[in-house]
Subunit: 248 residues, 2 copies
Amino acid sequence: MSSRNLLFMLVDYTGRIAETNEVFDTTIKEDAEKNNLLIRDEELQPKLIIPGSGWFPKGLEEALISMKKGEEKEIEVPPEKGYGPRDVSKIRTYPLRKFRNISDLKPGVQVEIDGRIGTVRLIRSGRVQVDFNPPLAGRTLIYHVKVKDIIRNRLLRVKHLIKRRIPSLKIEDIKVNIKESTVTIELPSESYTTQGIQIIKNAIYNDITKYIPSITEVVFVERYGAPKKKVKTTPSKRKKSKKASIST
Amino acid sequence: MSSRNLLFMLVDYTGRIAETNEVFDTTIKEDAEKNNLLIRDEELQPKLIIPGSGWFPKGLEEALISMKKGEEKEIEVPPEKGYGPRDVSKIRTYPLRKFRNISDLKPGVQVEIDGRIGTVRLIRSGRVQVDFNPPLAGRTLIYHVKVKDIIRNRLLRVKHLIKRRIPSLKIEDIKVNIKESTVTIELPSESYTTQGIQIIKNAIYNDITKYIPSITEVVFVERYGAPKKKVKTTPSKRKKSKKASIST
């Protein structure tokens, strides 16, 4: 991936398996509900896709490159540009007794064996067939995509890279400042206690310096308490400034 | 506790039980070794004591108030100014079978029963006596103390409040800046992944605003990566600046 000409796209999509029409992922609330997909609300928003990053199947990322803001399209992704071909050598059979500790063993259930995650395919005559291929391997995928936005502003690019790691954040609640090669980030205080926040911050640093190469340093600022200030607000003013909030 | 006239003292001490002469705590490496106390090196340094804070027994804190830098003293702390009197109603007897899961049950071992921590006192005829008093309750304590320093500088006070929560830190590795009622703190990057660091930061905020009331806001700055800089160092210079380090 060349770091030049990187595209930061906000994309709504619904992906389904070509042969079965089964929807496996979506950013659209309606589609999630229609297909009984359990997806948290914070994931039901347009997603940041940077073609070339490899976060999404290659076929999807490639097709997006030539799309414009507002454009809608159906993209077919064959296995070789998706989750790879299905490898039959990755299907193994085990005696049923190996699964004694699993109460809800049935086809479709994911199990961990020797550190690898597999999907139960068949249970028959005391034997269990487990498929260690990625669930979508060998499938042709059809993505219905809509490019909601293309982000050119560097500051906004930073914010969306942050939001990708903490999807519950609202873009407008992230404070970002860029000065030369240093970006300073102030997350809302609720995120200070997000599980694994220190690992997330390190990942955000990696993402930003990788996808915005002009930035080499990322500084996180965390604020506890507030300086004593007299907030002068008249009732009439208060009405106007709906978005104003007192940082805690 | 009045916030005025707070004393920030760095104190070396060794505490022993008056009647048995048993050493129970110390900041002195030699005393720890002589008495086979397992204390981590980072705790074998003078400790921050703020008389009135209640971090140490009242009798110890009270006696320290009138001491000067460099002064050494033996302080006797009776139970009522130490860990309180021993309350016999806090001694309970349980059947031995309740402790089946404890392999090394013997007098002196600490056990948890119904969420309370107690010390095993006696094991006899199938019964176990457990004392829920604090281990030093009812004891007269003798502290040998030496006031290593009295800290008057506000910036240094902040640093020592931080070090109290992260004893492994070196004072000179903590960057602190005070502007009006806001203190900005930059910890060395190794501490970013200290277990529970977010809870520690909140505790540091509470400590600072409590014991240095002129400060109302605490800002933590965490730096990932470094701006590209040409470090100009000639070999001769490098020798001089032994303490210089490149922040990462």
